[in-house]
């Protein structure tokens, strides 16, 4: 702990995470209340942090003429077999188009047709040249007067005696500073969780980073919420993406962007004429493999040279490694069809259902704490625009909250601060023990083998999940042996602790839902049938810190927010 100073900060709203949801929240708050102090606490630099670091080539949630929030809700209900928070989806969809207009106003280039409308890329998507979406949002946030604390990893919420979240503790990774950040409201926008399972296309363990979702999103915000007693929802609704094999590049760029057929090894289009949901397309691909008709491909061989070029350019805006892959093989997309494969499972509220349980104002179950974007649950298919809208709603709710309530922030006492600092920096003080990578490898082994990893065909069963539960409980205790040589190692240590916490909660959810609702996101081999008479409910959980256990709850679909 030598050399770690302590610094105190105070703000009106602290936003944890400077991705799309966080920046949208910050800008909205400053615009609505120009005298408010808005502080974004970001583990990297908001100019290129979060899951859109490389950029994006489509905004997948937009209401084209003829579509409404209601038609979008119908689409989402079908996609997630009826388990959807209607209030969240409706309030989100109402803001999609304005969010896209805001991006355009900030300088993000959208190609348009002759009438000036955005170019359609599928039923709910528009084309965008979004390689620089993050830098442009960051610039907009700077113009709006948002303050930033970068290279700062949030580790713990500060909860006052009345149970209200009044800020957070965070680690300045570059300046070795322990921050006490007091805030009248906190918005958690830390994104989804990657790195729970080992990569679905492992390469001798040398290249861990090739995944679809960034490994830097370790679920810190969810773990902080769990430790503070917040209620989480639908952690059993994992997200598994159908991706290009080896590069894990998005397939939508090809399937929706260029509209090529998806074929099995015999060249048969196994999706043709079937109106399938996202998860069913994934399941159909696994079924082709299971029936011996794999591998499956996106057939890019019939593209014209201009279309092939267009495809390469679209990938450069989102996943440049795909173009490098073609280049390294001295091939064009026209030379060979693209083999597809499923990714490892993630927890991502923007695609699936998992995250904080929030009300329609995006308030969590902890007073003073809001959540938005990939970190909040119940409203899938958010994508970029939906995450922005959630951030905006959370910001306006938080502002309303702090203007209506006369809040007097009380700094935690000296003892509490020293204890929190001691906990956060403990790995630096230990000389003998484990490094983060060792615990991470064990976590992967437990989840891959006992909680439906790719090696298990993603399938789940009680017997295995109970072993996962037992092993994770042991692993939670091993966290007290973590060591770190420097501040980067310390960040990695915190990330693995957070992943283990989120994974532990996820396994409880996977055990609890005794049916098969969204195969292969959630497929119980021991309960292979979907049972609407029993399981049309949200499954929620809360962590009980006192006895290191989880409390499981069921929430009806109808009740708004369940709060």
């Amino acid at each position: 702990m030598t050399g770690w100073q302590t610094e105190f900060k105070e703000t009106d709203i602290a936003i944890v995470g400077g991705g799309v949801a966080g920046l949208a929240a910050a800008i909205t708050a400053r615009e609505a209340a120009p005298s408010s102090r808005i502080l974004v606490v970001e583990q990297a630099h908001p100019e290129r942090s979060g899951c859109l670091a490389a950029g994006v080539n489509a905004i997948n949630a937009y209401l084209h003429p003829g579509e409404t929030a209601h038609t979008f809700l119908d689409f989402v209900l079908r996609e997630f077999m009826g388990i959807v928070r209607r209030d969240l989806v409706m309030t989100m969809a109402a803001g999609f188009n304005k969010a896209v207009d805001r991006l355009a106003a900030w300088g993000v280039p959208f190609p348009r047709d002759r009438e000036g409308r955005y170019l359609r890329r599928g039923r709910h998507a528009v084309v965008v040249h979004g390689e620089r979406i993050k830098p442009l949002m960051f610039q907009a946030a700077c113009r709006a007067g948002v303050e930033f604390l970068n290279r700062t990893l949030a580790v713990e919420f500060i909860v006052n005696e009345g149970g209200r979240v009044e800020g957070l503790y965070a680690l300045g990774i570059k300046n070795s500073t322990f921050y006490i950040i007091l805030a009248r409201a906190v918005i958690c926008t830390t994104g989804g969780v990657a790195g729970l399972y080992s990569p679905s296309c492992p390469y001798s363990g040398l290249i861990r980073g090739i995944g679809w979702y960034p490994l830097f999103n370790a679920g810190s915000g969810l773990a902080m919420g769990l430790r503070a007693g917040a209620e989480m929802t639908s952690l059993e609704a994992r997200f598994i993406a159908l991706r290009v094999k080896d590069t894990l590049a998005p397939t939508g760029t090809v399937a929706q962007g260029i509209r090529v057929p998806q074929v099995n090894v015999h060249g048969e289009n196994y999706l043709e004429g079937r109106h399938l949901t996202t998860v069913e397309r994934l399941q159909s691909t696994l079924a082709e493999e299971g029936a011996g008709r794999g591998p499956c491909y996106l057939d890019t061989t019939r593209l014209t040279p201009a279309e092939a070029r267009q495809l390469e350019e679209a990938y450069l805006e989102m996943c440049p490694r795909m173009v490098l892959w073609w280049g390294d093989h001295e091939e064009s997309p026209r030379d060979k069809p693209l083999e597809v494969c499923p990714s490892e499972p993630y927890l991502v509220g923007g695609h699936s259902l998992s995250g904080y349980w929030i009300d329609s104002r995006r308030h969590t179950t902890l007073p003073g704490l809001y959540a938005a974007g990939d970190a909040s649950g119940g409203a899938p298919k958010k994508y970029v625009s939906g995450c922005m809208v959630e951030g905006e709603i959370a910001a306006l709710s938080a502002l309303e909250d702090i203007t209506q309530h006369d809040l007097h922030l009380t700094c935690p006492g000296e003892t509490a601060v020293q204890e929190a600092k001691g906990r956060a920096l403990a790995p630096l003080k230990r000389t003998n023990g484990l490094v983060a990578g060792e615990l991470e490898a064990r976590l992967h082994k437990i989840l891959d083998e006992y909680a439906g990893g790719a090696v298990q065909g993603y399938r789940l069963m009680a017997g295995r999940l109970l072993i996962a539960r037992r092993e994770l409980k042991k692993l939670r205790r091993e966290c007290y042996r973590l060591t770190a040589g420097d501040s980067y190692d310390l960040m990695q240590a915190h990330r693995v602790v957070d992943r283990i916490m989120v994974a532990s909660a996820m396994v409880e959810h996977l055990l609890y839902r005794k049916e098969t609702r969204w195969p292969p996101y959630q497929e119980r081999a021991d309960y292979p049938v979907r049972d609407d008479s029993r399981w049309m409910v949200f499954i929620n959980s809360r962590y009980n810190r006192d006895n290191d256990s989880f409390i499981m709850l069921e929430r009806p679909l109808e009740e708004e927010g369940g709060l």
């Binding site: 630099h45 290129r48 300088g107 980073g209 892959w325 390294d328």
Partner: protein, 113 residues
Amino acid sequence: MTVAIDIEKCTGCSGAREAQCERICPGGLLVREGVKVQLRGGGACWDCAACVKSCPHQALYLILPWPLGGRGARLYARASATETEWILRLPSGREERYVIPARINQKKPVPEI
């Protein structure tokens, strides 16, 4: 480890408080050691290419490691005010260039398609 650093070209952004790539990397994987930048924890690199675009000297480029290819192709990028130019150097030495709109120039809107 998917980003390579050309040590000849890297200046470590000497004089600046931190190197551009060090500032921008979402994983905190690039660090200035002495006058050059090094990659640490490179296994976690996500290929987002933020560092590649940020380098004022084009000292950084994406490579495809041997389990996936390893034939030596390199992907460079250069960001201007309104466009991002990508240079793909193939193993044969041939180069492909792609120029992609990245930011609206208020005076010159994006052309219609």
